[in-house]
């Protein structure tokens, strides 16, 4: 599916959700949940919390779909909801003196369906990246955002997004290249 078709599918789904079509919600969920989860994880760095935000994001998407104005940026709209939920979650946590983990430490169960490269990406790959590099790569690769949209979402200059993205890809390239050479 090309980017344009994909955007169109998401917009139609949002309109469908607003009109109460239950299958539209499922389509939207399937198309976007990995991107939402990856983004939440990149902010919270905690699989359990990210799962909560994943849940809450879609609840909110469902509730506010009638207010969505189709402008060709459905994914950015959804991720703005995710970002806001994450930030208020972090604020809550600060009140209870829990602090977000400094280190990226994703405990993912060893799974049968992950191939070798995917395992390396999840375990070592993302760990070698800085927080922002990781966030940018995930937003681009998993959430399907354009660099321009990433710069808007994260309030970073486009040039910063591009250079960090480049650097992140280079790091992953080196890691995966080395591993596969063995």
């Amino acid at each position: 599916m090309s980017g344009h078709d994909h955007t169109r599918t998401l917009e139609l789904s949002l309109v469908g959700i607003a009109a109460g079509q239950s299958d539209a919600f499922e389509v939207l969920y399937q198309e976007t949940h990995a991107g939402v989860y990856a983004f939440a994880l990149s902010i919270l760095k905690n699989a359990h919390d990210a799962q909560d935000i994943l849940h809450d994001t879609f609840l909110k998407v469902y509730d506010t779909a009638p207010t969505y104005t189709p402008m060709g940026k459905p994914m950015a709209w959804i991720l703005t909801i995710t970002r806001n939920l994450c930030y208020s979650h972090l604020r809550e946590k600060q009140k209870t003196a829990e602090i977000a983990p400094e280190e990226w430490d994703l405990h993912i169960e060893p799974r049968e369906d992950l191939n070798r490269e995917e395992r390396i990406v999840l375990s070592e790959g993302l760990k070698t990246l800085s927080d922002q590099e990781r966030q940018i790569v995930l937003l681009h690769a998993v959430s399907d955002l354009k660099h321009r949209q990433i710069s808007e979402l994260l309030s970073l200059p486009l040039s910063t997004v591009l250079s960090k993205y480049r650097r992140a890809i280079k790091k992953l390239e080196q890691l995966l290249g080395k591993e596969t050479d063995e």
Binding site: S2, G3, H4, H6, V15, I17, A18, A19, G20, S22, F25, E26, Y29, H33, A34, G35, Y37, A38, Q51, L54, H55, F58, L59, D63, P66, T67, Y68, T69, P70, M71, G72, W77, T80, I108, R111, D113, L114, E117, E118, R119, V121, L122, G125, V137, L138, H140, A141, V142, K146, H147, R148, S159, S163, R166, I169, L172, E173, L176, G177, T180
Partner: protein, 530 residues
């Protein structure tokens, strides 16, 4: 492993590890209002009895303004919403919807086949506002809505007014704009009803217009009735009238109009004020004969000028020029520089001076300008999006499209067709599916001089295309296109010198070029990319 494979691996790994919470989410969702509000009136014998009873009372012609106050199902309150769609909602005392009336064609579009009978007011408002947003009646360009409450019980009316304002305010907080709300109470009179009915508007809008007409003698009801609530709100905000007992929140959007700066520019150009002259101009937004206009007043070279300019098209509707008695004109200059016309319309003048191209280009024309500049033909283009926009008071078109694996973005002046901003970047989606195509699109010197000359018709003085500018920069840096990363090219208007800004990275260095439109390297910079 290349970039494309890495992105793909990251994506699939997350698709596999993302927990599936869909069922839990669905469990927590409140079913969508529009689907659930269909009330089976006919199957409910109690309700039927009431409606029969109500009809009976009506038949008797009892002059009883509110039928059976004690009846919980009788209509006690009428809420009307006006944007351009005008909708009237009849409520019983429990704020349950009795009936919804579409008062005009736009309202019928909004309502569609939604049925709100028996649902709560909140649900109806939610769905109606959602539908107005979706159907583009409330947008960044026109964000105002009028809420009118008609209720004999003034406390209840006041509470409802406050509640609705809050609720609609929240619903209209979107990503790109916020709503502007006017809220009032209205009392039904025969006179008001007759006027409202004759014009297919709500009592509320009729009342608002009545107030504006009463306060400002230059307005007539007939002139204002065709205006949207956003236009009326703009008139209120401009201080032309201050309707009593009307609460206002938010700011009406002026983005559908050319803006004060553009209006001034048009007037100055018409009056042959040399560019760069600083003048104190008085500007105002007003309405005349049912259209929104900008009034521009200024004094220049011993004359007082007064312009009325169509706020949508920029057309000069009316010009007045008279001697400024306070100042002595420099006699030998006046009369030749400008073509005087005392209080006549601009018609007699068109052709003599140099009136700006006042009418906007069509989306089709603008699209063609962008295609020509990019050197692409319509059959190669996909993902085309043309949006009319207003930036810093100038109406522009944003044109986005893809062709040959490159994503283009243009901002084009809606009147002159000048390309204000231009951006192209490699389309990552296309790269994912066919990377070879993308590479060829980047390296191939797709520019020919004939394409470059086409851009002249756009009004932009570009003689080389952006691709050519990229090539020049790359050649200057001694970098091959294949080695350059993040290659970007934009037009810029620094110090009024039009040129391309080309940026890219290669071999650990960051390059920044300014290339003039005749292909000269104006500036080159490189620094270590860290």
């Amino acid at each position: 492993m290349n970039e494309k494979n890495i992105n793909q691996t990251v994506k699939t790994s997350f698709e596999k590890v993302t927990p599936d919470v869909f069922d839990q989410v669905v469990e927590h969702c409140t079913p969508r209002a529009a689907k659930t509000v269909v009330l089976p009136t006919r199957k409910n014998p109690y309700l039927r009895m009431i409606s029969v009873a109500a009809a009976f009372l009506l038949l008797l012609g009892i002059a009883f303004t509110s039928i059976g106050y004690g009846w919980s199902n009788a209509v006690t309150t009428t809420v009307s919403l006006d944007v351009n769609p005008s909708v009237e909602i009849l409520l019983n005392r429990n704020e349950k919807v009795k009936e919804i009336h579409a008062l005009n064609e736009d309202a019928r579009i909004i309502l569609g086949d939604m049925n709100f009978e028996g649902s709560s007011l909140d649900v109806a408002i939610n769905a109606l506002i959602g539908s107005m947003l979706r159907n583009g009646y409330i947008t960044e360009l026109a964000n105002s809505i009028l809420i009118s409450v008609d209720d004999n019980n003034s406390d209840r009316a006041k509470n409802l007014q406050e509640k609705l304002t809050r609720e609609i305010e929240t619903l209209l907080q979107t990503e790109t704009f916020n709503g502007a709300i006017l809220c009032q109470t209205v009392t039904k009179t025969d006179e008001l009803s007759a006027v409202a009915k004759a014009h297919n508007i709500s009592l509320g809008k009729a009342k608002l217009i009545n107030q504006l007409v009463a306060q400002n003698t230059t307005y007539t009801f007939e002139d204002l009735v065709g205006l949207s609530i956003n236009d009326l709100n703009l008139l209120v905000e401009s201080g032309h009238a201050a309707p009593e007992n009307t609460q206002s929140s938010g700011t009406a959007s002026e983005k559908a109009y050319i803006g004060f700066d553009k209006a001034k520019e048009i007037a100055f150009t018409h009056a042959a004020v040399p560019a760069g002259t600083t003048l104190n101009a008085k500007t105002d937004l007003d309405s005349e004969k049912g259209i929104i206009i900008y009034e521009v007043e200024f004094t220049y070279d011993g004359y007082e000028y007064e312009y009325d300019i169509n706020a949508t098209t920029g057309e000069i509707l009316h010009v007045e020029k008279e001697r400024d008695d306070d100042k002595r004109p420099s006699d030998n200059q006046s009369g030749t520089q400008t073509t005087p016309n005392q209080g006549t319309s601009s018609d007699s003048q068109s052709g003599t001076s140099n009136p700006p191209a006042a009418t906007e280009l069509t989306a089709e024309q603008v699209k063609q300008i962008a295609f020509n500049h990019a050197g692409v033909t319509a059959d190669k283009v996909y993902g085309l999006k043309v949006e009319r926009d207003r930036d810093d008071g100038v109406v522009t078109y944003d044109v986005e499209f893809k062709a040959d694996g490159v994503e283009y973005e243009y901002e084009i002046h809606a009147v002159s067709g000048k390309i204000l901003e231009y951006d192209s970047e490699r389309d990552d989606d296309a790269a994912r599916t066919s990377s070879t195509q993308t590479v060829s699109a980047k390296t191939e010197p797709a520019v020919t001089e004939s394409k470059a000359t086409e851009t002249k018709t756009t009004g932009a003085p570009a003689t080389i295309t952006a691709d050519r500018a990229k090539e020049i920069a790359l050649a200057h840096a001694g970098v091959s296109a294949a080695d350059a990363r993040g290659l970007e090219c934009e037009t810029d208007t620094d110090d009024r010198v039009d040129h391309y800004d080309v940026e890219f990275k290669a071999n650990g260095l960051e390059y920044d070029y300014e290339i003039s439109f005749d292909g000269t390297v104006l500036k080159s910079e490189k620094e270590r990319d860290d």
